[in-house]
Assembly symmetry: C2
Homo-oligomer: 458 residues x 2
């Protein structure tokens, strides 16, 4: 039997062919007219896992698109690793901006161009073929493997929380590998350590049943003024959130974390420049990068009320609305934060308004994996030994709901191991994946799975 | 020769017939498809004035709909009275709510139902036939009469200011009678003493060229928070306007005025009840009615920014907008107020925003006629003598731009003398006019014009 490394090298052409096939399925989860394509992608994924030598593969129904679950339990003594991914994709529109059709993959200069090349069919496939290489060359896997590949990630995973809850025993494991992301390049390997949670509310303020003529100004209360006064009270002028208890559970940033954050690629400079931002804003006690990855936020995402047309209409608006979301730092609970913000709003609302607050969907726990966690240390060691470079740690200001969900429900940590890079136009026209990373990550996954039995469950 | 009173009584049927004709013209000034109808109404008005015995009648062009001007100068020694009105009407939509077609007048129970019956073709006609009665029975008018009847009142009189400016000499007079309004009923006669001015601004706040993902929250500035902080600074929590110099020119309310206001029909109770207002709002030093007629306001009429759709979109908005109008109390200058509010906005705007302020159309001077002005005292005497009732004084929280315009340009005071009442559904379906007031006001105008030579120019 050959080594998995030779197996991967010998089958490159097949795997690339597989990738082209997988990318040709327009499994756009948000479009009802692509419902059958999403199911075809589920079927393709299930078949491909089976072809890898893992025979227990199930297409499991949810209220929405199905989930592909698969497992190969080598021995109860071995640790179990759950690999998470998704086979659904973002819409390809606007089509006219694509150089090549989004579902007819095009290969050029070591890159494969197609919708979902980077996010994330390449990563699903490379995880499967890494297992295949181990299985076909060793006859067994170094760990028990479970696959959880969903079809609703691009629409916010509405069925996944319930699915995990209902299948806790089936999904039980010692570590989750999320294939949805990247570990940088051979030149600059990276490990992601955290992302933030999310909690959202919609506020409606009402002062009357109908708009009044502004000739009634002087006695008629104005819903917009009422809402503005509520919203202005939520933060001080430097951005500190004024809601009682809001920061209570936020972990203070350790010196080690400060160090990690200070060494992160300062994405914020580029983001600000590209967006034409005038001046950055936020708690002056922290650096902008610290604020964006290790501190929570409260932002008004939208607001409206009264007359918005051309010219003038002298009304006193009787209703006004705002949407608020908070990004949550490690250790915060979205439900608790929602209740605190609600309590604040009800407390400060002026007498002359009725105020109604409802939850917005998309609630998510924050997630932070300690840099000293064995899963991190092991991956770091592999990457540094094989690339000869220092690993950089990254933390994200965004949200990956599945990680907090898995920890809350299964009590398990998640590490991201994938081939995607930030410049590969995920969600945009002309999305691509660098093939060198597609191949490199197959090896990384093999090495990582081989190392894990020695470090997990000790 | 008979007395004008007999003349009016003898011609009631003719005048009612005239009114039906006039009301049958759908002279909707806002609708391009009714352009010819507006011109027909101008022509009808001009013809009717000529038929009254006033031969110098002109249809004068403006950038928009024409103005009907007419004059009869009896003698340079007599005072000159300008009668203001308009022959254009509000749209009749929604048509399905009318019991009878809006441009086919229907008479029932002493009321005539049609669009513009109350606002204000009845008043235009009764002013003309009052002059006719005086002229036909006396052979001359007691004063020099000028008519200024416009066709754009229902769209905010966009051409009138320029027209008056350009025709200052033609329009020169000692008093203006606005026929656009009412003097109550024989049971409760009223005289209107004031209305408020108007000044409007639109504010745009910008923090970047594009919306940012809220994962950038912590450094990306939020245009909505910036705008909210500006707007919240404009008033204190009890509604006092915090703009430096805003109240500088506002006349303090004299004890006599307080008395008049306290005796006014408290329209605000009914308005609040009908609109389902929870609690009234405003400067606690004044009563709600005082605030609404003798104090200025600053109200946000509309505001918008960011995501306003269903559900959640985690953006940090890069732009936000608000429309602001101020109702101005007697003696305030709309241009000065605009400059003060602008200066405040620029001064308090946070560092992280660019702010742009532009003027909104519809600027108007406030107007107040002193209760002791000879035009008021004379009308009051006539009304009290002929009805045996005490006249109530009224002041309005709304705006009638023409009054401030006439005082600014011609230096002349304006008193309202018309048959309209507030419950006659002006601007709404099933508008009507009480015919008893249509006839009564013809007499009141005759009496008033007969009395004026003795009191004006003394």
């Amino acid at each position: 039997m050959s080594h998995w490394k030779s197996y991967l090298e010998e089958h490159r052409e097949t795997f690339l062919h597989d990738l082209v096939q997988f990318l040709s399925i327009p499994s756009v989860s948000t479009s009802p007219e692509h419902g059958e394509d999403v199911r075809r992608a589920a079927q393709w994924t299930a078949d491909r896992i089976r072809r890898a030598g893992i025979s227990d593969v199930r297409i499991m129904e949810t209220k929405g698109h199905p989930v592909v679950y698969a497992e190969r339990i080598e021995s109860p003594d071995k640790p179990t690793v759950l690999i998470y991914g998704h086979f659904d994709v973002q819409p390809a529109e606007p089509l006219e901006l694509w150089m090549h059709p989004p579902f007819h993959p095009h290969i050029e200069d070591g890159k494969i161009y197609a919708r979902a090349a980077s996010d994330m069919k390449g990563n699903v496939l490379l995880s499967i073929v890494a297992c295949e290489a181990l299985l076909q060359t060793r006859g067994m896997l170094p760990v028990n493997i479970k696959f959880l590949i969903e079809g609703e990630e691009e629409i916010g995973s509405p069925s996944l929380g319930g699915f995990i809850q209902q299948n806790r025993q089936l999904l039980a494991c010692d570590l989750t590998i999320s294939a949805d992301g990247g570990i940088g390049t051979r030149e600059q390997p990276q490990i992601g350590l955290s992302n933030r949670g999310l909690a959202g509310l919609q506020v409606r303020v009402k002062t009357a049943d109908v708009d009044l003529h502004s000739g009634a100004g002087g006695y008629a209360p104005n819903a917009l003024h009422g809402l503005i006064s509520i919203l202005e009270s939520l933060r001080d002028e430097e951005g500190r959130i004024q809601v009682d208890g809001f920061y209570e559970d936020v972990k203070s940033i350790s010196d080690a974390e400060r160090d990690v954050i200070a060494k992160m690629t300062p994405a914020f400079d580029a983001v600000m420049r590209q967006a034409g931002v005038k001046t950055s804003f936020g708690e002056p006690e922290y650096t902008p990068v610290e604020r964006s990855v290790a501190r929570p936020t409260l932002e008004i995402n939208g607001m409206w009320g009264g007359f918005q047309g051309q010219g003038v209409k002298t009304v006193i608006p009787h209703e006004a609305f705002a949407k608020i979301t908070c990004r949550l730092a490690a250790n915060q609970d979205p439900e608790k934060i929602r209740e605190l913000v609600k309590a604040h709003i009800y407390r400060v609302a002026p007498d002359y308004v009725d105020v109604f607050v409802e939850d917005l969907p998309g609630s998510a726990y924050p997630y932070q994996l300690p840099a000293e966690h064995t899963s991190v240390v092991t991956l770091q060691r592999i990457l540094e030994q094989t690339t000869g470079k220092h690993v950089k740690f990254e933390r994200s200001g965004g949200t990956v709901p599945v990680m907090g969900m898995l920890r809350q429900t299964l009590g398990v940590e998640t590490i991201t191991v994938g081939a995607s890079q930030k410049d590969e136009r995920a969600h945009a026209p002309n999305e691509f994946l660098r093939l060198e990373n597609f191949y490199w990550l197959q090896e990384v996954v093999c090495m990582y799975l081989e190392e894990l039995p020695g470090v997990l469950r000790q």
